[in-house]
């Protein structure tokens, strides 16, 4: 058994197509990939919101003035 569908290379390459593992699971892979992508946005969005909320209370007027001057 081979995950790529070939156990040896005794083949005519003119007749070989996909050689990636788990052929036939493309839709499942896309679903997993999309979950990873959307999940990433979700985690990032939540964390950024928490960070911005925390950051808005951190400023000291003197330091902010200095930062503005520094450009």
């Amino acid at each position: 058994m081979s995950t790529i569908g070939y156990e040896n290379w005794a083949v005519d390459l003119a007749e070989v197509g996909p050689v990636y593992p788990f052929q036939g699971s493309e839709v499942l892979m896309v679903v997993l990939g999309v979950i990873f992508w959307v999940g990433w946005h979700r985690i990032q969005y939540v964390r950024e919101s928490a960070h911005l909320e925390e950051a808005r209370g951190m400023g000291e007027k003197e330091k902010i003035d200095k930062m503005l001057e520094r450009y």
Partner: protein, 453 residues
Amino acid sequence: MDGNLNALTTVFTEFYYWVTVVFMFLIHVGFCMYEVGASRRRNHMHTLMKNVMIIPLVTVTFFFFGWWIYWAFPNAFPGMGGISTEAGAPYAPWSENMGTNLQDRITGVFWAAFLLFSWTAASIVSGSVIERIRSSALWLHAVMIGSVWWIIDAAWGWHYDGWMVKVLGYHDAYASGVIHAIAGGYALGVIMVLGPRLGKFASDGTPRDIPPHNPWMLTIGIFLIYTGFWGFYAACNVPAISPEVIDGQIVGTTWTATNIYLAPTSLSAITFNFLMSLSGGLMAAYVVSRGDAFWTFSGGLAGIITASAGNDLYHPIQAMLVAAIGVVIVYKLHYWVERKFKLDDAVGAVAVHGYSGVVGLIIAGFMLWGAPSSPYEGYATINPIGQTIGAVIMFGLLGFLPGWALAKIQAAVGVLRIPEEVELMGLDYAEHHAYEDAKADIIAADKAALAAK
């Protein structure tokens, strides 16, 4: 070169490898920038020189014996047949092939492609030991990892005739193990003996962050490493070869690109997978490090390295997910090791290269289980046990052990680490002093000349 097709293929292959070498030079530029950016101002010039001198030292030794090792050592392991002086003869430094020779247009560019991998292996070690190792000590390590240990592992596991490929079914298409695991393991061996930078750990053992002096230099450095990595990927392939020349099990007349084992793949496949594993690594590292810029950048690299063992065959989504999983493991492992063993890996090289390489090899064993490791008959197929044994050989036997042993010898004779006073005042102190003196001297001379007018 008889026949136009033969001539064209030879010249194309010659040019192909030449271009990869030029691209790969950017890896070293990137490493230099990264190391200098990560070091503190008082250590800049020494940090830079330490890495730059890897180039000539590894180059000449790779010419003298490194390239010969690759061809003579594929079966140099107990019970496997031993060193083949016959196979190595055309690549000995006194061979006619190792010079301008119109009958051999490939050896020079192929040698150079491997040589650039050697620089990378040495440069990975160089990053983890900055700001406290003696340059003389590092340069000896550079020669050993760059022209001896990594090329032995390449002969064993990255050669169409290597015993690890034949017996273990070892598969490592873009060098998760043969470059990254070994260099990370070697760096771990050295830093265990070398010890942390002064101030790295508080008196209660809590690790302190030593921030880079120039984050932008680090950023450009790692982007240059990414760019050079493209060249590295291309250099790991044979660009165009016929089944007749491979002379293995493949039948028919269809030409193909192959990996280093002469098994079929394509540039298109590795382009998909390079970009998707880079992306998976960046995304996972951003999340796991909570948006830390440098871990995110390094995570991109770690992602590619984790997927590299199987990136000749993976589906792009698999490459992305393998990279993401690898990065999470590597990040957690880095901080666990740092806290537990009080080790100071200044640029995270052991994690980004070493742990990623090991994790990538093992994952590839499962993902590619049962796939042929070679186009030749009688070779073991790819499997998790072979890949795990391979990871132990790369990281432990040929990486960690030699690095640790040589560092122990250097420490015993007092030539490994710089004196504490020099570490505190900075490695560049003497040069900086001379620079300031020379500046004051020339300014005074110019002023005197002006006053005399």
